[in-house]
Amino acid sequence: MTRGNRIRYVYKPFVALLALLPLSLLIWNFLHHNLSVNPLDDITDETGTWTLRFLILTLAMTPFRHLTGWTTVVLFRRMFGLFAFFYGTLHLFTYLYLDKFFEWADIVEDIGKRPFITAGMTAFLLMFPLAATSFDRMIRWMGGKRWKMLHRLAYGAGIAGVIHYLWLVKADTSRPLTYGAILLFLFGVRIYVFLKPRLVRRSPYPSKEIPTS
């Protein structure tokens, strides 16, 4: 098997199965009454947490390549991004259904009134165009440069996701702040990679005027 085929037919399906593990566990635990006595809340929490984790994993791929030089990981970026969207959709659905029972007037009021809902909805809306333009034909049709510009929205989604989490906790902000710190670190790597060549090219020694006599 060629390397390309191995990635396509072995590694990618394997990673996809792994990515479905949190959902499978959630369903298993729900059916076996292993969740808390408020399982609907657990479902909301778990799907939300995994959305953020996959979003951060997606955003980590490029910095990871820069730091390690291991380029293969980037081949999994799109899959992780789509899983972030997948868990995000489930999370949104649990809110619309289990929390609000599709009371649309209530939902609209909620989005406007509650900052953490506003932030969560923003994160979802930022992910939506990325998922919609994630296939190869779209990249060719849009042109790589424009596509790349659009997909920078993923950073926005990550930030909105962390803010959503931060604004919903009652007192203990350690978990959302940890995700925020990881995100900040990833931005730091990207900024460093962006600035480095520009800094190196500049000569470290300022040219001195040689006095002419």
Partner: protein, 314 residues
């Protein structure tokens, strides 16, 4: 020539004759005991207590709604001293020591004193009360508490006329309460009531639930229950009660003053700034219920707040 003999079998290892003779019966008995232990494990006393629990309303203060199960009540609650997840208190509180326990009663009263819990309970009318419980997070339960009216204790210790409020304090033991090692709230936890709220017959000092001693995770050995207020007003593991002239500080108000007020009465019309309080999910139910004014106790307590702007005094 000295022939070394091994030691005799110590008498402690010789099976007594009466057991030897009845060894089959002994084995049967041991097996039966094993099964009994296994059964006890599978159906703990608490569960049997729950099954024996008489259905329905018995006293004037009881709700006739179906109580939540013992498991629901004891595995899902907030007690930040043992961690911030609602499963944490049950997981992390097993090493918490509630014996011996003393309660200091001080401030504006005739005879400040420190009481052993047993002495504090002496002469009190211990009763079971089935109350609704509404958490500020939007979930609720029905819980058969066991306890006595706080008013009984107040009358006993005779506060002075300067006592307008009553302040409570939770034990501070970071070595046993891992949550107290982290400063997400200021420790120890403190709460308070206005004197008329404290004297109200619905207000209980609780020592048990489902007719049994309070489990550690639910605030053993002594906690407060004020059923028309959000659950966090029900301070747990109380070691100090202080009669004071001015409104005492309360922990959640100190943490986030614009979200948690001193009164914290259940009120569907005053939203928490970050979420609605109009509805609640009763644990064990799928659909949400409408939250009732004063958690359904309006008839008994609304007069305490007559003329007060409940948006301002939330």
């Amino acid at each position: 020539m000295l022939i070394k003999r091994g030691n005799d079998i110590p008498s402690s290892e010789i099976t007594p004759e009466h057991i030897y003779v009845h060894r089959r019966a002994f084995l049967r008995a041991a097996a039966a005991a094993g099964i009994a232990v296994a059964l006890r494990e599978a159906f703990p006393e608490s569960l049997r207590a729950q099954d024996r629990w008489p259905q329905g309303k018995r006293g004037p203060y009881d709700t006739d709604e179906k109580p939540n199960t013992y498991k629901e009540i004891t595995t899902y609650n907030n007690f930040y001293e043992f961690g911030t997840d609602k499963g944490d208190p049950a997981k992390n509180s097993s090493l918490f020591k509630t014996k011996p326990w003393t309660v200091r009663i001080e401030g504006e009263l005739k005879r400040p004193a420190t009481y052993a819990l047993e002495d504090l309970l002496k002469g009190k009318t211990i009763e079971d009360r089935i109350y609704r419980f509404r958490c500020v997070e939007g979930w609720s339960m029905v819980i058969p508490w066991r306890g006595f009216q706080l008013s009984e204790l107040i009358k006993q210790v005779e506060p002075t006329s300067r006592a307008k409020y009553i302040a409570f304090e939770t034990v501070y033991r970071p070595e046993e309460m891992m949550g107290q090692r982290r400063p997400y709230l200021t420790w120890p936890y403190v709460e308070g009531l206005r004197m008329d709220e404290a004297m109200h017959p619905l207000t209980l000092l609780v020592t048990g639930l489902y007719g049994k001693d309070l489990p550690n995770q639910n605030g053993a050995p002594l906690r407060l229950i004020v059923p028309w207020k959000y659950g966090f007003k029900g301070i747990k593991s109380i070691v100090k009660i202080r009669f004071v002239e001015k409104e005492p500080p309360t922990t959640w108000n100190l943490a986030t003053p614009d979200e948690y007020g001193f009164y914290s009465n259940v009120n569907p019309d005053v939203d928490h700034p970050r979420w609605s309080q109009k509805t609640e999910r009763r644990i064990g139910e799928f659909l949400k219920r409408k939250t009732l004014m004063f958690n359904g106790y309006a008839e008994q307590v609304a007069h305490l707040y007559a003329g007060m702007d409940l948006r301002k005094y939330f």
